[in-house]
Amino acid sequence: MKSIRSLICLIVFSVLFCSASYADLIHRSHFYQKTALPNQSIQVTVRLFNSGPANIQFYPAITLTAESVRSYEIYESPVSFYSIMNQQGNSYTFTVRAPADEGVYSVSVTIIDRFTDTPITTCFGSFPITIGNPTQAISAHPSQLNFGKLHLGRFMYPIPIKVRYRIFIPNKLGDIQPWCLRLYTDNANKFKGLKGAVRQLPAGGLVHSSGKYTIPLKFWNLNWGPEVHSSGWDASVQGPPPVEKDLFWKGALLDESTPDHPVYDHDRKPWLRIPDYSEMTVDPHSWRRAVGQYPYDGQFVNPTNPGGDYQLSVQPNPFELYFAIEVDPTSVRGKYSGRVVLELFSP
């Protein structure tokens, strides 16, 4: 009977011991910078709370894991020991040296028991850290395309333009400076317009050899939809939405439309007009953006994407861009040309 009682006591104490050393350490919050230069010191602050009955003595292990193959486990050296007081929260700042290889790393901090060398808990960072040297580069291929001889209608250039870019601009806040890839034409020298036109004719697009007329130029990439449930077109599987359909070219019809006077929802359409440089203002809504990372705009920000990241590929892999034009009765016969500028822009 006594032996049974002592066995029960042993079980209860061992459970208590286990809960005190493992389960009672709560990770309250953490902070670290989002960007770093290669080999730069990174400071990771973790706020821990011990709800158990005993003090815990521990040392940290910070793991920076790159996606796919590469993995770095970096232990701070020499290891300094820390202890957490019973029933008390505390902030701990650990320093780690960033890897020499550029890339995007996930961050985790493992708390290891000083005496048993066993992990107590692991704090997973909620955002990645980007390590690299400040860089901006872009190239597009093919860089020349000719739509050929066109009659009335809408035409998409069937071959996508592959855009390859690298951009990394850390700012003083340890964050990634918001950036986007803007598309525009720069027709200021070419486009002259018509005298006395009551409304200024749009300068964006391809310009006639006389300098008087333009054909609007549109672009599409996967960021711009269409929304698959309302349109029935799954662009990620089926590719660019067909330009012939007004739904994709002009936008959905609004309720106030009449058969004689259709009104389109211009805000929600996958094919977007490329403006001219002269039409753009400081307001980001006057820009056309292909890809980017822009948390302040809110357009692509959602609970799973707090950084507003709408890149379609991992740098420096290319993403695809399609161009299309519409030839209508206002398209005067003749030769048209234009240069579309793809600009990595960080305001």
């Binding site: 901006q136 580069a137 872009i138 190239s139 597009a140 093919p142 860089s143 020349q144 395309l145 000719n146 739509f147 050929g148 001889k149 066109l150 009659h151 009335l152 250039y157 333009i161 855009v163 018509l194 005298k195 006395g196 036109a197 009551v198 409304r199 004719l201 749009p202 391809l206 006389s210 008087k212 007329y213 054909i215 130029l217 006077h261 161009f323 034009i325 030839v327 009765p329 206002t330 398209s331 005067v332 016969r333 003749g334 030769k335 048209y336 040309s337 234009g338 240069r339 579309v340 500028v341 793809l342 600009e343 990595l344 822009f345």
Partner: protein
């Protein structure tokens, strides 16, 4: 290398560095195309209705197909040219000369047309030789308010594109600089469409003498004039 040469080389090197820095953040795609001539409009006329009652008699219609992409501003205007008929007409009663169909020896039947652009309205077709006929005027001088009175062009224009024509640019509400503006001033009509033709017969049948029997003729001209 002298001092000036050194400065010049230095500037060139700095420029070259700046150039490479700038070039790295933008890339350009050169896009070109040629817009073919749309071939112009094709008119197919059918005259198959009788003119037998006083008032407006629709005598037939013209189906228009095709498209034109002339340099704009361009207009397609309609008029008759009765000079040749007039010469043999004898000129007995010439108070309103040469409108519509002309009869040798006097008499005329006014001719009207209707298109999707005119709506329910029927427009008289003028004669080019008439003194009251004016060629096309693009812009009516717009005072404060920029509300465009209707019918500001003084030529019978079937369709056209003119970004300088305030009336055409103003759009449905006839007010300039509002959201519904037609920036190109494009009043070309999507084909196929129909031009209806009608003649006016005098209202009182007992006074039918005003429309004496005989052969009525005219030369009806649809003319495209583009940027001169």
């Amino acid at each position: 290398m002298n001092q000036k040469g050194k400065i010049f080389t230095g500037i060139m090197i700095i420029l070259a560095i700046c150039q490479s820095l700038l070039a790295s953040t933008t890339s350009e795609v050169y896009i070109s195309c040629t817009v073919a001539s749309f071939g112009g409009y094709i008119f197919k006329g059918y005259i198959n209705a009788p003119a037998n009652k006083p008032g407006r008699n629709i005598i037939g219609y013209i189906d228009v197909e095709g498209a034109a992409n002339e340099p704009y501003p361009w207009i397609m205007r309609v008029y008759t040219d009765n000079k040749n008929y007039q010469a043999t007409a004898g000129a007995i009663h010439q108070e309103k000369p040469s409108i519509g169909l002309i009869r040798k020896g006097g008499g005329h039947l006014p001719l009207q047309f209707n298109t999707p652009n005119t709506g329910e309205e029927w427009v008289y077709i003028p004669d080019i030789n008439n003194k009251d006929h004016y060629t096309y005027f693009a812009v009516r001088d717009m005072g404060p308010g920029a509300t465009i009175p209707g019918d500001s062009t003084r030529d019978t224009v079937v369709m056209g594109i003119d970004p300088r024509n305030a009336e055409w640019v103003a759009g449905r509400d006839s007010i300039l600089f509002t959201d519904d503006d037609n920036i190109y001033g494009d009043i070309s009509i999507a084909t196929p469409f129909t031009i209806k033709l009608a003649v006016m017969l005098p209202k009182d049948t007992r006074e039918f003498k005003k429309t004496p029997a005989g052969k009525y003729s005219t030369k009806l001209i649809f003319e495209i004039i583009s940027e001169p």
